[in-house]
Amino acid sequence: MKSEEKIPILRIEDALLASIQIPLHDKLALEFQHDLMVSIEKTRAKGLIIDISAIDVVDSFITRILVEIAGMASLMGVKTVIVGLRPEISITLVEFGVQFDGIETALNLEKGLEKLRVWKSK
């Protein structure tokens, strides 16, 4: 049975946009990953943008989920860009030596889309 919480996935240009605004937990995270991959296949999207500006605490769990998503998307030929990281969060991540391996970051949605465009044209 699926939980009632859901992270909406929107289409923007030829990319997908998901804004995480509720706290992730194990089950929700798995469903989110599943939903994203299905959407990628269905919409033939070329890029994926995940907005985390609403997240106050980025812990190792969320980091792992994000890194996993980027990995999965990359297997399907899709580039992932994380947008909306807050300064204090980025400091914490660096202090604790957390690595966002293989993930692009951008300041905002617009710049994220631009990064995807640059990547596509390569």
Partner: protein, 271 residues
């Protein structure tokens, strides 16, 4: 060298820069090498030292001197900072020492009191304090100079010593400014940084990584020859970001990244 006679002892004592007095077991002044600060020997001789005009103008000084002498009479040596007064009433700080005076058998037969004016030292201390305060204030102002020099480009000229505290401040200010101005490129200029050790390099690396996470790139400019040498010898990994010769090259690089082209207005006619 043979034994010196009593006269020579007296000369020796008289020529000393510091004040030395011999007190009896009650604390009265029996002998002193010389009077100073405007007093005549008669003003002081025979007085209890703490009741002498040097100290009798302040209860606190009297108390401290009396206590020191009592301690000396019990066999203790003391050293303290006491305020003395000149004849015209001007206070001046001295270091006051009191030690027991013993005979050949080791019996305490009096007290040796010494005084050394530390007016200059005090003044120096004050001046030093003021200077340090001033420096601190100006360093605060200088510590985090993040400016936007172009739309989307920030400049961070680092000057002077970068310690952990300052590095932290710089990092916070820079990251907030990146988000506030939505800037994609940061030029970190280290021309003014005298030396880069592992610690400083670590701070710079962290700042760069954090900026990267936000989605901004960093260019390091103005690395001095000696700094370049240290960095390579320390085996620091500075490959994560671009380095350019100076601020100008950094800005040019940034503008090119953003799709601008820099050339003279008349350059097409000349070629």
């Amino acid at each position: 060298m043979g034994a010196i006679n009593a006269d020579e002892y007296l000369h020796l004592l008289r020529s000393m820069r510091n004040f030395v007095a011999m007190l009896d077991t009650d604390g009265r002044v029996e002998f002193m090498n010389r009077a100073s600060s405007g007093y005549a020997e008669e003003d002081i001789k025979g007085e209890f030292l703490w009741e002498s005009p040097w100290f009798n103008r302040s209860e606190e000084s009297k108390e401290e001197v009396k206590e020191a002498i009592e301690k000396a009479l019990r066999g203790e040596r003391t050293e303290s900072e006491v305020t003395a007064f000149k004849k015209d009433g001007t206070p001046f700080p001295i270091i006051f020492n009191a030690s027991p005076l013993r005979d050949d058998e080791g019996n305490i037969i009096g007290v040796v009191a010494e005084g050394k004016s530390i007016t200059e030292r005090k003044e120096l201390e004050e001046r030093l304090k003021e200077t340090v305060e001033k420096l601190k204030a100006s360093q605060e102002e200088l510590s985090t100079p993040v400016t936007q020099i172009w739309e989307g480009i920030l400049a961070l000229p680092l000057i002077g010593v970068v310690d952990s505290y300052r590095a932290q401040r710089v990092m916070e200010t820079l990251l907030n400014k990146i988000v506030e101005t939505q800037s994609e490129l940061v030029i970190i200029d280290v021309t003014g940084v005298a030396s880069i050790d592992t610690e400083v390099a670590g701070h710079i690396m962290k700042t760069v990584q954090a900026a990267n996470l936000l989605g901004a790139r960093c260019v390091l400019t103005g690395i001095r020859p000696e700094v370049a040498q240290t960095m390579i010898h320390l085996g620091l990994d500075f490959e994560r970001f671009a380095t350019k010769r100076d601020m100008q090259e950094g800005l040019k690089f940034g503008l090119e990244q953003m799709g601008y082209e820099i050339r003279r207005k008349d350059s097409d006619t000349q070629d």
